[in-house]
Amino acid sequence: MAKKIVTALVGATLLGLGAQGASAATLADVKAKGFLQCGVNTGLTGFASPDSAGNWTGFDVDFCKAVAAAVFGDATKVKYTPLSAKERFPAVQSGEVDVLSRNTTWTINRDTALGLNFRPVTYYDGQGFMVRKSLNVKSALELSGAAVCVQTGTTTELNLADYFKTNNLQYNPVVFEKLEEVNSAYDAGRCDVYTTDQSGLYSLRLTLAAPDDHEVLPEIISKEPLGPAVRQGDDQWFDIISWVHYALVNAEDFGITQANVEEMKKSANPDIQRFLGVEADSKIGTDLGLTNDWAVNIIKAVGNYGEVFDRNIGAGSPLKIERGLNALWNKGGLQYAPPVR
């Protein structure tokens, strides 16, 4: 009871009292305290979850590591704050976390009224549905009358209402605050349908008692561009966060990997030389407020975008999600980074 209110109150109070130091020079603050405070999911396999030793791993976690590598040259200088969907925005607004890397959808409302800034999209997603195979449902249009489990305070909840309304279908929403609560309720049969971002469904299916008894329906009912968010009002920090992602994508574009980054420094290609900061009189990092080898540090720490994807959610992981929309722009996907010049 009171715990929720107290948490929210503390958040609100932090908003009231804390924001002073958080307003302008985030980079200087992060450097001064010696670590990056990164807001992540409370537990979404493949995106952000603690392993048995308590170390955080995942796609979103690797982004935090990449930022730390760019700032400190050391990917371990990150502290993670697990946040529920409800807690995540006040945590950024109040300066409790320096960056939110928590499979969060970029929307106009969040970009404006909530005082946040979004730019790079680290993962192009869309909302989907999962059902028990035994129900014999083949399309989302057959879901009339179903009880649908959904996490509160998400764009998912709003898309769900819109989709069922548009298609004149009846449904009964069963709303939980924590992802784990949604999982166990769906697994116990409280709901017939589980809806969230499709990547999330693939991830969550692995945690169910019998993953093979469930299937993800083909429909994608929304656009869910997921990406990191920072507070408004600090352009330098916003640029750093954006360019960390662009560095990951450019590295894949150039074919630079964790294994060959040192070799690539000797490349004759001027684009690669400039990107890795080995060009004479380079200002490629100092203009950002970082060192010139910031991109090298990122790639050494986590690899390029493709490697991060494969290791956490793609072919090299239990989730085996296709690259799809997240392939590079020249391979049929949407991942495109501005040039380093």
Binding site: A2, G16, A147
Partner: protein, 397 residues
């Protein structure tokens, strides 16, 4: 002289300094404290407003008029995704009140039964009551809620294998489904009959009390009241040609659908709050009854009053004076504990407020609404109980 130095004459004119007067000093200290508190509040509020403004976060209560965009599973009033945020808050408020009121009623009934059971001479009843109290009193309410929720989810069957109860009622792990009454033309007459029956019963109770006070003769009031409450509406319903139909739950693709549903979230929260609070109420009832001197019972017996009447007319009225004040605080606890609903997905004020908070980002506004609503609900409950307490308390002449 030494004596004069220790006790200077009060009216010397020289020592009557304004600031030496303890009364004046007391007032001044209070004024300073009040000023500091006000300063602190002003600082907090102005700083908050300033910071919100600086971080470009919209503020104010205008968002309550915005379209909600989400649906709510359990609602006592009509609500769709096209309704406003303000209405969503009202849905949450009615859901909170629903679970609090039903919980308070059940907790009181269970609590009185168990409390009296603890005083029973029957060994088994006394020990079972003791075990009940010790079990529920010593675990956190959140665990009790989870206990009931997962008990319901895992013990009851999936919707496609619902348990079929009599009267077209079905039970599964999504909730309890029962036929939904649909009022036809002329059903208003039956409602009027209900009101008339209710008024008759109140009149009967008052009259019989007066008669007993005057003549000492008593009536079987309970039996007559029940008869009136059932017979009058039923007779009206039949005479007006049965304008009442039922929408019966039927099997569909996703199991039993249709009719009215009480969701498993409500059931588990309601049971948990009732059982948890009842344990405390039982102890209050026991202490209240124990608090009535044994001489009262003996005196009543000596006057020839039968044991049952002794309990009802002598012991309980005096016990109530001890019971009610702590009972009030249990009612308040139950109401506040109802905000744990969010853990099992029951759409109470905190759960819906949380959704709104997230969709709009208006953290401070939503939290302030929560605080104001819970504060008002608690104060209203306390006021009702204080009024009741004043009625049963000892009238000193």
């Amino acid at each position: 002289m030494a004596m004069d130095a220790l006790n200077p004459p009060r009216k010397s004119g020289r020592t009557g300094s304004f600031f030496n007067d303890p009364k004046v000093r007391g007032v001044m200290y209070q004024a300073i404290a009040l000023f500091l508190i006000a300063l602190c509040l002003y600082w907090i509020i102005s700083n908050t407003v300033e910071n919100l403004h600086r971080s470009n976060i919209a503020s104010g209560y205008g968002f309550l008029n915005g379209r909600a965009g989400f649906d709510v599973g359990q609602s006592l009033i009509a609500f769709t995704s096209d309704s406003k945020y303000g209405r969503a808050f009202i849905v949450g408020l009615t859901n909170t009140i629903l679970v609090a009121v039903t919980g308070i009623i059940t907790a009181t009934i269970i609590g009185f039964i168990v409390g009296i059971g603890r005083l029973s001479n029957n060994w088994l009843i006394a020990k079972l009551s003791l075990a009940y109290v010790e079990f529920f009193r010593n675990i956190p309410p959140l665990l009790v809620i989870f206990f009931w929720y997962y008990a319901i989810l895992s013990l009851l069957p999936l919707p496609r294998e619902s348990i079929n109860l009599p009267l077209d009622t079905y039970l599964n792990n999504q909730g309890l489904l029962f036929p939904k009454p649909l009022a036809g033309d002329g059903f208003g007459l039956t409602l009027i009959a209900c009101l008339v029956a209710f008024a008759l019963v109140i009149g009967l109770v008052l009259w019989s009390k007066k008669r007993q006070a005057a003549t000492g003769r008593s009536l079987p009031v309970l039996a007559i009241s029940i008869a009136i409450l059932i017979a009058l509406p039923a007779l009206t319903l039949i005479l007006s040609g049965m304008p009442l139909t039922f929408e019966v739950p039927v099997a569909g693709r996703f199991g039993i659908r249709g009719g009215s549903t009480i969701g498993s979230e409500f059931i588990s929260l309601f049971l948990a709050l009732s059982f948890y609070t009842a344990a405390f109420i039982a102890e209050i009832v026991r202490s209240g009854i124990r608090g009535v001197s044994k001489g009262q019972t003996e005196a009543a017996h000596a006057l020839g009053i039968r044991p049952r009447q002794t309990t009802r007319l002598v012991v309980v009225p005096q016990a109530m004076r001890i019971i009610i004040p702590p009972l009030t605080s249990q009612y308040l606890n139950l109401m506040k504990n109802s905000s744990l609903a969010v853990a099992v997905g029951y759409a109470d004020l905190v759960a819906i407020g949380g959704t709104i908070l997230n969709q709009t980002g208006q953290a401070i506004e939503v939290v302030s609404i929560w605080i104001i609503v819970y504060l008002s609900l608690s104060l209203i409950t306390a006021a009702i109980m204080n009024w009741f307490n004043a009625r049963v308390s000892l009238v000193e002449r």
